[in-house]
Symmetry: D2
Subunit: 154 residues, 4 copies
DNA sequence: TTTT
DNA sequence: TTTT
């Protein structure tokens, strides 16, 4: 009966890396920066940047690998996870990551991240597939559609 | 590319109501109170209670109907939704509800909500089905199990 | 001992309205849309838009009134509040609003919302006031600056 | 224009440690466990426990040091922060912590964590200081009290 | 190190 | 009333 939830809005420091496990599961890694503004004791404006390692699995990994890029602003929702591993000297090390289960691309089509090179091979953020119609505020009680979330990026 | 998320921790004002749509879908309704403490202009401690209408669908509805009761403290995660309906005079009215997709029972087994009557017919909060073993911090990279979430209450 | 928290990312439907109470307190009202995508029973992509009434007080109200505009994408954090009022027929009505205590403008400077007229008098989203220096990951224990939050918009 | 937010509900593994910096600022450290349930490939129920290092500053540190204890269930809201330090071998190490700015004690007065010894010297979770009156849903527009948050634990 |  |  516990809760482990992280909500981040930040920008990717590099392009994401999409890989596959031996069993073929997609996993995408990238890091995003969040920057905090505060005043130091002298009343000077300062900023402090925090870098977050993001891990995404399965279908969302494919979407992240395909549509995200360096500089892109994203909303991430996930959980904190600390893994241990052995470094080259055989010492146990720990790394804390955010395992994301929700991702939303922020900013519009005119806002693809300021550091983005004008590379022609770069994927375009696609038009959202035309939504049949704006669903009106329905009269009264309504059973919601069951969002399987399993085949559309956005 | 938007986010609509609500996180509440509060206590049920009454026992939940579990119903079924004509097509057999379970839906559970209950309300929870959140109380805020603040000081008024005179420096007097005041409290202000907000009531939230919660709607839960499908399997989580069954769980809520079965295990929640008046006074129980819960964590709720969901989204805000405003529906319209017609009142008895034919006027359009709006009601804002929280459609929950996560629920956690809070407090332990000694803490079933202070207003709870010692009714013998009341369901007991069951022991969590013994977890086979405490999973150790695994060495390195690990593909997570896929939580289908579809048959265990907690 | 309760929690009442809302997190929204959406776009303003109109320019915000900034007003002042008789005692001179700033209050800003605007609404933002969040749009959900789902599939109906026929497997058709549908969208459903939810409108949220946002209320902001004091200094953050001034910032919202000054820098937000129709179409702008924002992150909002706040609490749910339902107020009652009497309609013109003397009937008690309820309205649910989000009282915001955090706001972040999303998208970059090239992304001011596409319907924005190129009005010269319109305020520009200012350059973030140059942050003196990128604070390095400091060595060890560090007492944070106390962010009073009271005089800088971003 | 970023967001770095963590929301946790879990139980303290040990009593909190309250200390003071050389300049007299209170800082409280404790760790909380969150446990996730999932099924492995064999359909076996498993659990995985994550430990989170919590850091709290100033007045909230004093409250945590005074009222929290081993086993207590808490709601924590804060931000992720990674600090670096040198280990005894002069190697740079990183530790990720949650810097909390909100804490709510969960469970009622009958739910102090089941391993708690009946030590008479242990602080009691105080009765919430009687709230003068339940503030009614006020008629219409209302300016909120300004919650300075600076002298009351709950 | 907690809790279920 | 926005945005995609």
């Amino acid at each position: 009966m516990s809760v482990n939830k992280v909500i981040l809005v930040g920008n990717l420091g590099k392009d994401p890396e999409l890989r596959y496990t031996p069993t073929g599961t997609a996993v995408c890694n990238f890091s995003i920066a969040t920057t905090e503004r505060f005043k130091d004791r002298d009343g000077q404006q300062q900023t402090k940047t925090e870098w977050h390692n993001i891990v995404v699995w399965r279908q969302l990994a494919e979407i992240c690998g395909k549509y995200l890029h360096k500089g892109k602003q994203v909303y991430i929702e996930g959980k904190i996870q600390t893994r241990s591993y052995e470094d080259r000297d055989g010492n146990k090390r720990y790394i804390t990551e955010i395992v994301a289960d929700e991702m939303r691309m922020l900013g519009g089509r005119n806002d693809e991240g300021y550091q983005r090179p004008a590379a022609p091979a770069q994927p375009q953020q696609p038009q959202a597939q035309s939504s049949a119609q704006q669903q009106p505020a329905s009269g009264g009680f309504q059973e919601p559609g069951y969002n399987t979330d399993d085949d559309i990026p956005f």
